[in-house]
C-alpha cells in the first residue's frame, strides 16, 4: 500500500438507486469534500469515476494523491433480490438433487399455509447435477468421487448455457478433497465459467443453507467480476493506482481479489457500511451502546451494538434465502418512507410492506403517486420543509393531504389524526423489531442511545425512542450519507472458523490449540494477501459454545492458556445475561472455533469544528400538528449549527441529506464530534 505521506487521500464511493455519493478525505488533516452525481444504473462505474473526479476537483487535488479507494456495492444484493443472477448450475452429491427444492421443508411461521407459494429457486432443478462419492461426517472418505460424472455434469451445464457452476458436496466442511477435485475437473471441462466450491464460501454444517450460499455466490460471480474489472479499469485510466477495497456484509472491507472469489460476502455491503458509520459517529461522541435504525425508502435496518462491538450472525437472509455467511447481526423490516398506508375491506389500517418505490414515490413528490405513504404523513403534519435536497425537490402538501384523505375517510378520522396513525403504525413496527433484536442479544433497549440515520431515520428518532423508553438520540452529522462515513471508518476483516464439537470439561486442549494455530495461519496468509503490516494486524480467538444438545451457540472470547473452568463460567454468565437462566447440571460443548482477523487501516485525523449558536442557525418557523394541537416549530439549518449550540424541541433541523424532527420535550445539543445529541426529560 502506498505510504500515507505520498498518498494521503482516501475516497469512499456509495452508489444508491438515485445518486452516487463520493466522500474524499485527507487523512492528515481530516478535511473532507463530498460530491453527488446521478447514478448510472446501466454502468455504475461511470457515475463512480465521475463522482471521484468531481470530489478531486472540489478539493483541488490530483488523482495520484489517492491512497485508498473504498466502495460499498449493492450489485450482488440487487441481482439476488430481483432474481437477475446469471444462469447457474449446481453439482451436488448423488441422491440429493432436490436439495434446493426441498430446503427446510417448512413455510414461514407468519404465512398462511393455504396461501403461501414457494419462491422460485435461483437454480432450477434441471440444472442440478449429481456425482457419486461420499465423505462421512467425520471427514473420512466412504466412496471415491465419480470423476466421470463431474465431467458429464460440466458438459451438460455448458450445453445448457450456464455462466457459473457451484459445487456443494455433503460434509465438505469436514474434508474438502472431493470439492477441490471436482473444481479442478470443472476448470478443465468448462474453462471460462465462474466456478465456486462451498468450502471456499463458508464451510459450515447444514447442506441446504451451504448449497444456497454457494449457489448465490456462483450466480453473482460473473456480474461482480465484470463490475470490479470495470471499476479497476476506470481507476487505472484516471491515474489512480490505489487498491480498491469493498465493504463486506461483516462490516469490514476486503481487496477486490478476495471479493471476486466470494462476492456473496457483499450481500449486505450497504447496510453494513451504515452500521459501521453509526458506530464511528457514536464512538467520536463517546457513546458505545447504541441501537441503529437506518430508514430508507422501502425498508428499515435495525442493529444493536453493545460496548462498541458489532455482532455477527451466520443465520442472516437475503430476500427469501438463508445466507449463512458472517454478517452484521441486523434485522430488516418492510417499513420506510415510501411504505404505503392502506385500509383493507375489513377496515384494517396497514402500513407497508408494499412501497411506492422510487417511481412514482410518495404522493407529495408530485410524480403521479396517489396512495399515501409515510413521507406523505410527515408532510401533512408539517415535519418536512417545503422542499428537500437543498431546495431541488419541492413537496406538494395538497397532494399529500389528498392521499392521506384516502385512508382517513373510511376510518372516520381527521386528516391529521390519520397521518399520526400512519406514523404510529410505522414506528410500532420498528419498535417491535428493536425489541426482538434486543432480546436476542439479551439487552434492555432503555440503556442504549438510539442512532437514527438514512434519509428518513431522523424524522422518527424521537418517536421511536419515546416508545422504547430511550432518553438519548444521536443524529449523525450527515445521516443521509452515513454509508460513506462507514467506508472511511472500516478496517479489513475476515473470519476463519472450524467445527470441532468437543465437550468442554473433557476437551482436548492441545487439539483445540492446534486448530486455533492453523486458523491463525490461514489468517496470516490472508494478511499477506491484503498487504497488512505486522503492526496493523489484530487477531481474536473465539469459541462458539452451547449447552449439550442446544441448537444455538454463544461466542465466548478465548484467552491464551484458557482453562475449561473459566470458559464454562464465562459461558454460563453469558447465557444468564441473554436468556435469564443457566443450567449448572448440564455439560457445555465447544462447537466451533473462530479466529477473527482485522487489518487496521489508518483513521483520518479529526477536523477542528467551528462555532455558531442556535439563534444564528434558525432560518424560519413552521407549523406542525401535534396531537395536542398546532404549534410553531423553529426551522434550523444544520450547516450553521456550531459545536455546543443548544435548542429545545419542537424543532425541524434541515440539511441536504436528511431532516431531523426534534420532538416537544427534547433538547438538542451539538456534540463536539459534530453529531446532534437529543435528550429528553
Amino acid at each position: 500500500m502506498p505510504s500515507p505521506d505520498a498518498a494521503p487521500l482516501i475516497v469512499a464511493v456509495d452508489i444508491g438507486g438515485t445518486f452516487t455519493d463520493v466522500t474524499l478525505q485527507d487523512t492528515a488533516t481530516g478535511e473532507a469534500w463530498t460530491a453527488k452525481t446521478p447514478s448510472t444504473p446501466r454502468d455504475p462505474s461511470e457515475a463512480f469515476i465521475t463522482g471521484v473526479h468531481l470530489a478531486l476537483a472540489a478539493a483541488g487535488r490530483q488523482p495520484q494523491a489517492i491512497g485508498r479507494v473504498l466502495h460499498g456495492t449493492t450489485v450482488a444484493t440487487n441481482l439476488i433480490l430481483e432474481g437477475k443472477t446469471a444462469p447457474t448450475a449446481l453439482l451436488t452429491t448423488a441422491g440429493f438433487r432436490h436439495v434446493l427444492e426441498i430446503g427446510r421443508a417448512d413455510l414461514p411461521r407468519r404465512d398462511n399455509l393455504w396461501a403461501w407459494v414457494k419462491p422460485r429457486r435461483p437454480v432450477p432443478p434441471a440444472l442440478v447435477f449429481e456425482a457419486a462419492g461420499r465423505i462421512a461426517s467425520d471427514g473420512s472418505e466412504l466412496a471415491p468421487l465419480d470423476e466421470a460424472a463431474v465431467r458429464d455434469a460440466a458438459r451438460a451445464a455448458r450445453a445448457a448455457g450456464v455462466s457459473a457452476i457451484a459445487v456443494c458436496l455433503l460434509h465438505a466442511f469436514a474434508n474438502p478433497s472431493h470439492e477441490r477435485r471436482a473444481l479442478a475437473i470443472l476448470a478443465e471441462e468448462a474453462p471460462g465459467l465462474a466456478l465456486t466450491a462451498s468450502v471456499d464460501v463458508f464451510p459450515v454444517v447444514r447442506e441446504y443453507e451451504r448449497s444456497m450460499a454457494t449457489v448465490l455466490n456462483a450466480a453473482v460471480m460473473p456480474a461482480i467480476s465484470t463490475y470490479i474489472a470495470r471499476l479497476e479499469a476506470r481507476l487505472t485510466e484516471a491515474g489512480i493506482a490505489a487498491p480498491l477495497l469493498l465493504m463486506k456484509s461483516n462490516g469490514g472491507v476486503a481487496g477486490a481479489r478476495a471479493i471476486r472469489r466470494a462476492p456473496a460476502q457483499t450481500a449486505l455491503s450497504g447496510p453494513a457500511a451504515g452500521v459501521v458509520g453509526a458506530r464511528a459517529v457514536a464512538a467520536s461522541a463517546g457513546v458505545a451502546d447504541i441501537i441503529t435504525v437506518d430508514i430508507g425508502g422501502t425498508s428499515a435496518d435495525i442493529c444493536l451494538i453493545a460496548k462498541g462491538e458489532i455482532g455477527l450472525t451466520q443465520t442472516g437472509r437475503v430476500g427469501p434465502w438463508p445466507l449463512s455467511l458472517p454478517m452484521v447481526d441486523m434485522v430488516t423490516i418492510g417499513a420506510g418512507g415510501g411504505s404505503l398506508a392502506r385500509v383493507g375491506s375489513d377496515g384494517v389500517l396497514t402500513v407497508g410492506p408494499q412501497s411506492a418505490g422510487a417511481d412514482p414515490g410518495p404522493a407529495s413528490y408530485g410524480r403521479g403517486g396517489l396512495e399515501p405513504t409515510v413521507t406523505d404523513a410527515h408532510v401533512v403534519l408539517g415535519h418536512l420543509p417545503p422542499a428537500l435536497l437543498g431546495g431541488r425537490m419541492a413537496l406538494d402538501r395538497a397532494l399529500a393531504e389528498a392521499a392521506v384523505q384516502r385512508v382517513a375517510e373510511p376510518l372516520g378520522l381527521e386528516i391529521a389524526e390519520a397521518a399520526r396513525g400512519i406514523l404510529a403504525i410505522a414506528d410500532n413496527t420498528m419498535v417491535g423489531a428493536i425489541r426482538v433484536v434486543s432480546v436476542e442479544r439479551g439487552h434492555d433497549p432503555r440503556e442504549f442511545v438510539l442512532v437514527p440515520f438514512g434519509g428518513a431515520g431522523p424524522l422518527h428518532g424521537c418517536a421511536i425512542a419515546e416508545l422504547l423508553g430511550i432518553t438519548r438520540v444521536l443524529v449523525p452529522p450527515a445521516p443521509g450519507v452515513l454509508c460513506a462515513q462507514g467506508l472511511l471508518a472500516a478496517d479489513l476483516k475476515a473470519e476463519f472458523a472450524r467445527s470441532v464439537a468437543e465437550p468442554l470439561d473433557r476437551a482436548d486442549l492441545l487439539r483445540l490449540e492446534d486448530v486455533f494455530a492453523s486458523l491463525e495461519k490461514e489468517a496470516a496468509t490472508w494478511f499477506a494477501q491484503e498487504g497488512v503490516t505486522a503492526t496493523d494486524q489484530r487477531m481474536r480467538r473465539v469459541a462458539l459454545m452451547r449447552y449439550e444438545e442446544q441448537g444455538h451457540e454463544l461466542p465466548i472470547a478465548w484467552q491464551p492458556g484458557d482453562e475449561p473452568a473459566r470458559l464454562g463460567a464465562a459461558f454460563a454468565a453469558a447465557h444468564r445475561a441473554l436468556y435469564g437462566f443457566d443450567l449448572p447440571e448440564v455439560a457445555v460443548e465447544v462447537v466451533t472455533l473462530r479466529v477473527e482477523a482485522a487489518g487496521l487501516l489508518p483513521a483520518p485525523a479529526r477536523r477542528e469544528p467551528f462555532g455558531g449558536d442556535a439563534a444564528q442557525a434558525a432560518i424560519g418557523r413552521q407549523r406542525i400538528l401535534l396531537r395536542s394541537g398546532a404549534v410553531e416549530a423553529t426551522v434550523i439549518d444544520r450547516g450553521r449549527l456550531g459545536i455546543g449550540a443548544t435548542f429545545a424541541g419542537p424543532a425541524i433541523v434541515t440539511q441536504l441529506d436528511a431532516t431531523t424532527l426534534v420532538g416537544p420535550g427534547w433538547t438538542a445539543t451539538v456534540d463536539p464530534s459534530g453529531a446532534l445529541m437529543l435528550a429528553r426529560g
Binding site: L113, A115, T350, R435, E440, G551, G580
Partner: protein, 586 residues
C-alpha cells in the same frame, strides 16, 4: 369502557406479534430437543383477561387453552407470578390432543388487575410411555403414551414447585433434554408475560382489553362473512377415509356436514363419523377446532386479521358423537392424531369444494414421522424424523412440494449424520407423487436411511396410502407413500405404513416415500412449458406427462404434433378424483 381506536388496534396487534416473535426466538435459542430447536415444533399465544385466545398462531389445532386450568384454579384466585401447566388431553377436552405437547400458561397482571394470559406450547420428545418418543402405533391405551400432567400450578407467587418438575423429568428417557426444554418454555412464558404488562403500561389496561375484544369480534365477523359467501343455505356434506389405525380398525371415515340455516347460523356436525379406533389415530377434537380450521382457510385473503377464538365463535354449534373417531372415550390412545387432523383439514376444503363447485384447494397428504430408537456407542438414542409431504394444488397455484407443516423444519442430512447413527443415501422429491392438474399437486419426498447402529427399532407412520389425497375440479389424486426395507435387494420388503416394533440391524436400508398433494383443474390445460419443466426437474416422468398431461416428450423436448393429437382426446373430468373421477370421495 375506554374504546381502542383503529390505529391503536393495529399497533396493539403489531406489539402482540412482536411479543410472540420474542418468545419464539428465546425458545429456539435455548431449547434442547431437536424436536423444538431444529424442527421448531412450538407455538405461542396471548389471551384476554377472561382467557379467550386473542392472538394465536396460524395453526388450526388449538382449543380452549385457559378453561381447563380455570376449572381447577378459578381465575379469580390466580396471582401475579403464577405459572400453570398441563398436557392432559382428556382433562382438557382436546385443548391438547396428544400428551407430548406441553402447555405452559401464565396470567399477567397490571397494577394488581388481571389483563390476560400468555401461552407457550411445545412438543417434548419423550415423556415416558410404551416406547421411546412416547408415541407408538402399537399403543392401545392412552396411559401408554407418557406421563399425564393434569392442570397444575407449577409456580405460585414466583416460587417454582421443583418437586413437580423432578417428577416429570424422572419420567423421561432423556431427562436432560426435558429439563432444558422445560426451562426454555418457562423463560419464554415469563418474557411474554412481561411484554403483555408493557402493553398495558403503554396503552392502558382498558384500551388493551377493548383491543383484544375487537380483535376477537373482527375475526369472528370476517370468518362469518366469508363462510356466508362460500356456503349456500342448506347442508353441505363431505366425507373422507383414513387408511387404518394400524390395529385392524379400517376403514375409518370422517363424515362432515356444515349447515347454514335460513337465519345464517352455522352448524358443524360430525356425528356420523365412524366409531373410535383401537389404535392411536383418535382425534380428541376440541369443539373450537372446526372454527379455527375454517378460519385459517378463509383468512388467507385477510393478512391484517389474526387467527384467534373469534374463528370458533363464527360457528354457532358443533355436534360431535361421543365414542366416535373425533370424540373418543378415555382411555382411547391418541398419539397419532396428527394423521386424522391432517385428513380433517383436507375434508374442510372438501366442504368448500362441494359448495363452490371446485374452487378450493385439493387434498394434501398427512405428514410422515418415523421413529428410530436403539443404542449406539453405549448411549440410548431416539431419532424422530418428521418428513414432508406434498400439499394440494390450488385454483391459483401449484401445491407446495415437501412441506411438513407451518414453520416446522426438517433435519438436515448433515445434522442427522452428525447426531444419529444413520447415513442418508438419498433425499429428494418423490417422482410423480404430485397429483396431475392444471395446477400440479405438490410432490412428496424420498428419504433413504442406512442404519449404522447394531440394532434399532423403527416405528412407521404413513397415511393416505390406500386413499390417496383427492384432486379437484378436474385435477387428479396425488401419489401414495410407502416404507420399503432394503429396496432392490433380495431382502426387500414393504413395511406396514402404520407399524412399530420392526427391528433393523447395521447395514439395513430403509426407504421412505411420502405422498403428494392432489391436482387442481384438468391436467390437459397445464401449459406444455410447465409440464416440460416438471419433467426436466424430476417432478413428473415422461410416462405421466404423456398419460396424464397429454404432453409427449421425446429426447427431452416436446413433440408438438403428438401432443396436439393426444390433447385432442381429452378425457372427461369430474368434481373429485381418487383413482377415477367421482362426485364424492367417500
Amino acid at each position: 369502557m375506554t374504546r381502542c381506536d383503529p390505529v391503536t388496534l393495529e399497533i396493539i396487534r403489531g406489539a402482540a406479534r412482536a411479543a410472540q416473535a420474542e418468545m419464539e426466538a428465546l425458545l429456539e435459542r435455548t431449547a434442547m430437543s431437536a424436536f423444538i430447536r431444529e424442527k421448531k415444533d412450538f407455538y405461542t399465544a396471548l389471551f384476554d383477561a377472561d382467557g379467550a385466545m386473542a392472538v394465536g398462531s396460524d395453526l388450526p389445532i388449538f382449543g380452549d387453552i385457559v378453561g381447563p386450568v380455570a376449572e381447577h384454579f378459578p381465575i379469580a384466585t390466580m396471582h401475579e407470578g403464577d405459572l400453570y401447566w398441563y398436557n392432559d388431553c382428556y382433562g382438557s377436552r382436546g385443548a391438547v390432543s396428544h400428551s407430548n405437547d406441553q402447555v405452559f400458561l401464565a396470567p399477567a397482571f397490571h397494577e394488581g388487575r388481571r389483563i390476560g394470559f400468555v401461552m407457550g406450547w411445545a412438543h417434548f420428545s419423550d415423556i415416558g410411555g410404551l416406547r421411546p418418543g412416547s408415541i407408538s402405533p402399537d399403543a392401545t391405551d392412552h396411559f401408554q403414551e407418557g406421563i399425564i400432567i393434569p392442570p397444575v400450578r407449577l409456580m405460585r407467587d414466583g416460587e417454582t414447585n421443583t418437586d413437580l418438575l423432578r417428577t416429570f423429568w424422572r419420567n423421561s428417557r432423556f431427562p436432560t433434554q426435558s429439563q432444558g426444554d422445560t426451562r426454555a418454555l418457562m423463560a419464554a412464558v415469563r418474557l411474554g408475560e412481561r411484554r403483555l404488562v408493557d402493553m398495558a403500561d403503554r396503552f392502558g389496561p382498558d384500551v388493551l382489553s377493548d383491543a383484544f375484544a375487537q380483535l376477537l369480534s373482527r375475526t369472528e365477523a370476517t370468518v362469518r362473512a366469508q363462510l356466508k359467501s362460500i356456503f349456500p343455505v342448506g347442508t353441505t356434506r363431505f366425507a373422507d377415509t383414513i387408511d387404518s389405525d394400524g390395529q385392524g380398525s379400517a376403514p375409518l371415515t370422517l363424515r362432515l356436514a356444515l349447515t347454514r340455516t335460513p337465519d345464517d347460523r352455522f352448524i358443524f356436525d360430525a356425528t356420523e363419523t365412524d366409531d373410535q379406533a383401537a389404535g392411536p389415530v383418535n382425534l380428541l377434537m376440541h369443539p373450537d377446532v372446526p372454527g379455527m380450521a375454517l378460519g385459517l382457510y378463509v383468512l388467507q385473503d385477510h393478512p391484517g386479521q389474526v387467527l384467534n377464538a373469534g374463528g370458533p365463535r363464527a360457528i354457532d354449534e358443533v355436534r360431535l358423537r361421543e365414542g366416535s373417531l373425533l370424540a373418543p372415550r378415555a382411555p382411547a390412545p391418541l398419539g397419532l392424531r396428527g394423521l386424522t387432523m391432517m385428513r380433517l383439514l383436507a375434508a374442510m376444503h372438501g366442504l368448500v369444494a362441494v359448495a363452490r363447485g371446485g374452487e378450493a384447494p385439493a387434498a394434501h397428504s398427512a405428514y410422515v414421522v418415523i421413529a428410530l430408537r436403539g443404542t449406539a456407542d453405549g448411549k440410548r438414542f431416539l431419532l424422530s424424523d418428521g418428513i414432508g409431504v406434498g400439499y394440494g394444488a390450488r385454483p391459483f397455484a401449484d401445491g407446495t412440494d415437501a412441506v411438513y407443516f407451518v414453520a416446522q423444519e426438517n433435519y438436515p442430512v448433515e445434522f442427522m449424520e452428525l447426531t444419529y447413527p444413520v447415513r442418508l443415501r438419498a433425499y429428494g422429491l418423490n417422482l410423480d407423487s404430485g397429483g396431475p392438474g392444471r395446477f400440479r399437486g405438490g410432490c412428496g419426498v424420498v428419504r433413504e436411511f442406512e442404519v449404522l447402529a447394531d440394532e434399532a427399532m423403527v416405528a412407521i407412520r404413513i397415511d393416505s396410502v390406500k386413499n390417496p389425497p383427492w384432486g379437484v375440479a378436474g385435477g387428479m389424486n396425488g401419489g401414495s407413500g410407502r416404507a420399503v426395507l432394503n429396496p432392490g435387494t433380495p431382502r426387500e420388503r414393504i413395511l406396514a405404513p402404520l407399524s412399530d416394533g420392526t427391528m433393523l440391524g447395521k447395514g439395513d436400508v430403509l426407504r421412505i416415500e411420502t405422498g403428494g398433494g392432489g391436482g387442481w383443474g384438468h391436467p390437459f390445460d397445464r401449459p406444455v412449458a410447465d409440464v416440460l419443466a416438471d419433467v426436466r426437474g424430476g417432478f413428473v416422468s415422461n410416462d405421466s406427462a404423456a398419460r396424464d398431461y397429454g404432453v409427449v416428450i421425446r429426447d427431452g423436448t416436446p413433440d408438438t404434433t403428438a401432443t396436439e393429437a393426444r390433447r385432442a382426446q381429452r378425457p372427461p373430468a369430474g368434481l373429485f378424483h381418487r383413482r377415477e373421477y367421482r362426485d364424492a370421495v367417500a
